[in-house]
Point group: C2
Chain length 166, copies 2
């Protein structure tokens, strides 16, 4: 017989999947990403890593490849492969950084800038159509809460490992 829980204690013994935050977040994020990808994938022949690369180069101008990786939360392998495809499509240029010849500096071509100019309003419109659910106050609150979870997971990247290891 399960014992009734006191109100100030959390039930750690049972779990209903569609009330479980990690599952809900993952499901929600996947739905959102699929909705956004529907806008840029077929129409512009862009994969997600390519779209991310174009997004940061479009808003920041030329950047070294490793900074693209940091800004897009992609490792250097994914960046490298995205750049290979973007180069083939004539959407970016790459040149060696003369001050450190290990570094590659990436920049959008006019073609890449066109893609950026075309895609951004479309994906922003998708974001708007989703966030239209919220009032301005709710948006701000959601933004804050998401930001604090991001920070927390950054500060304790081993939140699970601590539980896993001992």
């Amino acid at each position: 017989m399960p014992q009734p829980l006191s109100e100030d204690r959390v039930d750690l013994e049972s779990l209903v999947l569609d009330r479980y935050l990690p599952f809900r977040l993952s499901h929600l994020a996947n739905r959102v990403m699929r909705t956004v990808a529907g806008v840029y994938a077929q129409r512009f022949q862009l994969s997600a890593p390519e779209w991310r690369t174009i997004a940061v180069l479009g808003s920041n101008g030329e950047m070294p490849a490793n900074m693209v990786g940091e800004s897009t939360a992609m490792d250097k392998v994914r960046v490298s492969r995205a750049v290979t495809r973007l180069l083939a499509a004539g959407r970016v240029t790459r040149r060696v950084d003369p001050t450190d010849r290990r570094r590659i500096i990436l920049q959008l071509t006019p073609v890449g800038l066109d893609v950026h100019r075309s895609v951004v309003p479309l994906v922003r419109a998708v974001e708007e159509s989703i966030l239209a659910e919220f009032t301005a106050e709710e948006r701000a609150m959601f933004d804050t809460l998401i930001g604090r979870l991001e920070d927390r997971l950054k500060r304790i990247p081993a939140a699970g490992a601590q539980i896993l290891d001992p």
Copy 2:
């Protein structure tokens, strides 16, 4: 020269990736899922689809395979493959539903129930360690906001397609 935006209008022309909700949600969800997976993957030799299947069977008792799919947001192919591995590990049983011989009824074995009992407190603890960021009021607010986004995306699954197609 970019024109200054009036305060009640949204800038659809530019996009900074780490302020863009779909990207932030995806990044956050991935981090959370990786943290949770760190708890069940190596220690219990569970993939995400297997863990989800065990989670719903553990909280609901025996279920037809198609309901497992609905509850876990997985299609029948993923369920089928998860079940194949769970069967091989002796963690579930499957039998044909006598009232509709197309249906497969799944149930945790004692071994599967043991896994469920062992894993749930661990993954709940991860959830707790993340949500510890919030006060009770903030949790309730976050829960509500997430729920409304879920509902919205359910109601307008073609939110992006509408923009994509015309």
